[in-house]
Symmetry: C2
Subunit: 295 residues, 2 copies
C-alpha cells in the first residue's frame, strides 16, 4: 500500500531547480537564500472539496491548478513575483498515489509558468474530503507592493476583465494576472489593488474600508462576462447582479488617477464610505453580497 | 451570524508588533523585510481532527497550540529561530466565533513565546471536521541550519529527552526544543538533526537515509518516558517498543562526534545502511514502525 513517504520521495524527484533554493523539500524545513533587495510577501489560501471544487467533477490536476492559481492571483494583487510555494494536502483515505501525483502536478504546472518553485509541504490522509492548502512566497523584485489602502477620492476604479458567472467553469481555470499587474504597477500610478475573489461588491468594499473612501460604480461600464448571461437564463438573476456579486473571477480591481490602456474604468472612488451605482434609474446603493464563509 | 470577516477583523486586532513586518495580515499578502544576513527557512504542518487531535476531548486552545508547536519544533530541528507564521483553518459549519478565537489564541500563545509573529492566514468553513495548518518562516540568525544529511560513521546518536507514550497527553503539550537546539548547534559539532515526530525508529531511518549511514542503538541507553510504562500496563507492548516506535515526542535526535552535556547518547552511527540495536540478547534489527499516513 502506498504511503506518505512514497509520495514525498516522488515529489522530491519532481523538484525544479531554483537559484533561490539552497535546500529543497525533504528536510524538516526548506532553506532559501532571500535577496536583500527584495521584500518578502507571504500568504496562504486553501481549497476545500464541496466548497471550492467538487472532486466528483473536477480532475485532481484542475484542483491542484486552482489551489496554486488562487495564490498566484494574490501575488498579482500585490504586484509581486511568485518565488516559492508549499503545498499541504489532507487526502481522503484510499486516495491512490496517482491521484496524489496529479494534484501535485496541477499545482506544479501552474507554478512553473511563473518560475515559482514548490519547496515543501505536508501530506496526510483522513476519512474525510480533500483539502488542499498552498502557501506562497512572493518577492517585490523592484516594484513596491500595491496594497488595498491607498485609493483616493477621484481615483478611477479599474477592472482587468469581464465579471460574473465564474461558477460555470472559469473559477477552476483562470489566469493569474501577474504580468499585467506588474506592468501597470510599474507606472507608479496605482494607489490600491485587489484580486476579485469574493466578488466585485465585496472586494471593492475591502478597498474602500482600507482606504477610507467610498465608491461610485457606473452600471453600464461594468464588463459582464458571457457566463453571467448564461446563468441569467437559468436563474433569472440579472447578468449585472452576477457581475457585481459572483466570486472567483480573479480579475484585478484597482485605483489609479491616470488613464491606463488595456483595462476598463467602471467608476470613481469618492469621499465618504458608501458604495453606490449610477444606473438609468439613478443612484442605487451597492451592498456586498459576495462570498463570505459563515462559521 | 458571525462570518469570516468578523473573525479576520478580530485577528487583526490581536497582531503583535514585529520589526520584520512591514504590512501585517489584512491585505492579499503580508509584506516582510527579510534581513540579508539571514537564510529563510520555510515549512508547513497540519493537524486534522481524529488524526492529530480529538475535538471532542481537546480544547481549541490546546489544538491551536499543538499546530503551532509542531512547526516550532521543525525550527528546532533545523536550529533556526521562528520569525513569522501563517494559520489556515477549515472550521466545521456552526463553529462559534469564540471557538475560532480560542484556536487562534492557542497558536498565538505558542508563537509569542518565541517572538514569532502571526502574519496571515486563511479561514473557511465546511460541513466536515476541523483542520488547522500552520506555515512557519524561520531565520538562520547566525547559525548554519542543521540538516538530516550530515551524520558520519562514528558519530554519537543523541536524544534530548525520554521517549514513548506521548499519546497519553504529551503529544498535545510538548515544548519545542528551540533554545536547546540553538545552544548545541552553536558548538559547530552537530552533523545532522531531526525532531522525533514520526517515532525514533522512523526518524532515525530518515537521518540514515539522508546521510548514507547505518546506526547501532544501545537498548539500555534509550531514555523511556514514564508514559511508555503506563501504556505497557494497558497494552502489554513493552516500554522500549513504545520508546522506539511511538510518534510525537518532539525531542531532538542528532548526530555529533563530540561529548555534549545535558543530552543522552543512545548509540552510534555506523557504515552501511542498516539500523540495529544492541540488547542483552545480542544484536537485533530495528525496523521503522513509526507513524506513516497511509493514502
Amino acid at each position: 500500500m502506498p504511503g506518505e513517504f512514497d509520495f514525498i520521495k516522488w515529489i522530491r524527484s519532481q523538484q525544479s531547480k531554483s537559484p533561490l533554493v539552497q535546500l529543497p523539500a525533504g528536510d524538516d524545513l526548506a532553506v532559501l537564500k532571500w535577496d536583500a533587495s527584495d521584500l518578502l510577501l507571504v500568504g496562504v489560501d486553501q481549497v476545500l472539496d464541496g466548497t471550492h471544487f467538487d472532486s466528483a467533477i473536477h480532475s485532481p490536476c484542475a484542483i491542484g491548478r486552482k489551489a496554486m492559481n488562487r495564490n498566484l492571483s494574490d501575488c498579482a494583487a500585490m504586484a509581486c513575483l511568485p518565488a516559492a510555494a508549499l503545498a499541504t494536502s489532507a487526502l481522503p483515505k484510499g486516495t491512490s498515489l496517482d491521484y496524489a501525483k496529479e494534484l501535485y502536478l496541477g499545482m506544479k504546472e501552474a507554478a512553473d509558468l511563473f518560475d515559482c518553485a514548490l519547496v515543501g509541504g505536508d501530506t496526510a490522509s483522513w476519512p474525510h474530503p480533500l483539502t488542499l492548502t498552498v502557501t506562497i512566497l512572493g518577492r517585490s523584485a523592484g516594484i513596491q507592493p500595491i496594497t488595498r489602502s491607498g485609493a483616493k477620492p477621484g481615483d478611477f476604479i479599474y477592472v482587468t476583465g469581464p465579471l460574473g458567472g465564474s461558477i460555470l467553469g472559469r473559477h477552476m481555470n483562470f489566469e493569474p494576472r501577474i504580468q499585467l499587474a506588474r506592468s501597470i504597477a510599474k507606472t507608479g500610478d496605482i494607489h490600491a489593488m485587489i484580486d476579485i475573489s469574493d466578488g466585485l461588491s465585496r472586494d471593492l468594499r475591502h478597498i474602500c474600508d482600507e482606504s477610507g473612501v467610498g465608491a461610485l460604480l457606473y452600471s453600464e461600464e461594468i464588463p459582464i462576462h458571457r457566463d453571467a448571461f448564461e446563468l441569467f437564463r437559468r436563474d433569472h438573476i440579472s447578468p449585472l447582479e452576477h457581475a457585481l456579486h459572483d466570486g472567483e473571477d480573479h480579475e484585478l480591481l484597482f485605483a489609479s488617477p491616470s488613464g491606463l490602456s488595456g483595462t476598463k474604468v467602471i467608476g470613481r472612488f469618492v469621499a465618504g464610505d458608501s458604495i453606490q451605482m449610477l444606473t438609468k434609474e439613478g443612484l442605487v446603493p451597492v451592498d456586498p453580497k459576495g462570498w463570505e464563509h459563515q462559521l
